[in-house]
Amino acid sequence: MAYTLIASQTLLNPTATVTFSGIPQGFKDLMLEFNGGIVKAANIDSLLVQFNNDTGSNYSYTDLSGNGTTASSTRQSSATYFWCDVAATNLGLSSVSTFNVMSYANTNVYKTTLYREATAGNDTEARVSLWRSTTAITSIKLFPYTGSGFATGSTFKLWGVF
C-alpha cells in the first residue's frame, strides 16, 4: 500500500510545538500535511521545521512564490530551520502546506524536502529545502516563528509513502 497514515493530530487547544517522533523507517518518503493557522495578531507568521532535534545551521531552502501581484524567488543558506508562510489570526485557519520528505530514511544522502504552501489571503509557494545530514529522519518538530502557538483546529497528518 503506497500511502499509510502514520499519525494525525487535531489541536483542541493552542499548541506551541508539535513533534512527530519515533517515525517508522520502513517507507520511501514521508508526506506531512498541515492545515490551519498560528496564534498571532497579524495576517501571517511562519511555520518552522527541524529534523531530529537538530538546531544547528544545517538547513537551507529556495522558494518560488506568488503573492497575487509579483512572482519572486528567494533562498537562504546555513539556517537553523526551514519554513513556510502560514496564516495568522487575522486570516484564520486558511493555510495548507504539504511537505514531501524524500528518501527520509536513506543514510547515503542529505535530506531534501519538496513542499507546497497555499494561503489564499497571502501567497502561494513551492519550496525545496535541504537538511545537511545523512542520518535517517526519526523526528519532525514544527513550531511558529513568532506566534504563541498553532491555533485550535489546526491539523497535522503524517503519511508514509512506500
Partner: protein
C-alpha cells in the same frame, strides 16, 4: 511511535497500515548501484491503472552543479514532445518553452558532480490517462534542488508527448547531458487507479 504536544487535550490518532484496497500502488522501484547508470527504464508498464506517478531523487555525474533530467516514452526519439517550465533559482523567476523536441522533462534539474556531496535533486512527476489511445500524454512535475549555495532551483514543469493513439508502456529516464545517474539515486513508479 509517539506524538508529543505541549498542551493537553489534543486528539491524536496513530494508525498502522489497514487492509482495505489500495488505489496508489508501487509498481516499480530502482536504486542505482555502484558505478552509476546511463538511464533508468521501466518497461512493460501495467495498463490497469488510470494514472502514473514517479517519485525520485537523482544526481548526475556531469561536471557541473546541475543537470536536466529527461524522459522518453515508449522509446520515441522523434520530435514528438513539447516542454514548458516555471522555476525560481533563488534570485529570479523564469518561464520557458521548447516545442517539437525529442525529449520530455522528468525534473527541471538535479544536482551534478560539483554540487555539495550527498545532495540530490528531487521530483514528483504525474502522467494522467497514460493508457489512453485517444489523448496525447501530458506530464506534470514539481521538482527542486538545494545544496546550501548560490545555485538552487524549485519549479513546476510540463511536458507533452504527441502520441494520442498509443498507451505509455515504457519510460526511460536519463540526464540531459547524457552523463550517468549516480549511485544512491532512487526512483519509484506508482500506478494510480
Amino acid at each position: 511511535m509517539s506524538i508529543k504536544s505541549m498542551s493537553s487535550g489534543n486528539r491524536s490518532i496513530s494508525m498502522l497500515a489497514g487492509q482495505t484496497p489500495e488505489h496508489h500502488v508501487l509498481i516499480g522501484d530502482v536504486t542505482v548501484g555502484a558505478g552509476g547508470t546511463a538511464s533508468i527504464t521501466f518497461s512493460n508498464i501495467d495498463q490497469s491503472y488510470q494514472h502514473l506517478q514517479i517519485r525520485g531523487i537523482a544526481r548526475s555525474s556531469v561536471s557541473a552543479e546541475s543537470d536536466a533530467f529527461r524522459i522518453r516514452l515508449n522509446g520515441d526519439a522523434g520530435n514528438n514532445y513539447a516542454r514548458h517550465i516555471l522555476y525560481g533559482n533563488g534570485a529570479s523567476v523564469y518561464s520557458m518553452a521548447a516545442s517539437s523536441a525529442n525529449l520530455g522533462t522528468a525534473s527541471g534539474a538535479v544536482t551534478g558532480s560539483t554540487a555539495t556531496a550527498n545532495t540530490f535533486g528531487v521530483f514528483i512527476l504525474d502522467i494522467l490517462d497514460y493508457s489512453s489511445t485517444a489523448k496525447n500524454k501530458t506530464l506534470r512535475s514539481i521538482y527542486g534542488f538545494d545544496y546550501n549555495s548560490t545555485v538552487s532551483e524549485i519549479g513546476l514543469t510540463s511536458s507533452l508527448w504527441m502520441n494520442s493513439s498509443t498507451a505509455v508502456t515504457s519510460m526511460n529516464l536519463f540526464t540531459g547531458s547524457s552523463s550517468n545517474i549516480v549511485q544512491f539515486s532512487t526512483i519509484q513508479l506508482y500506478g494510480v487507479k
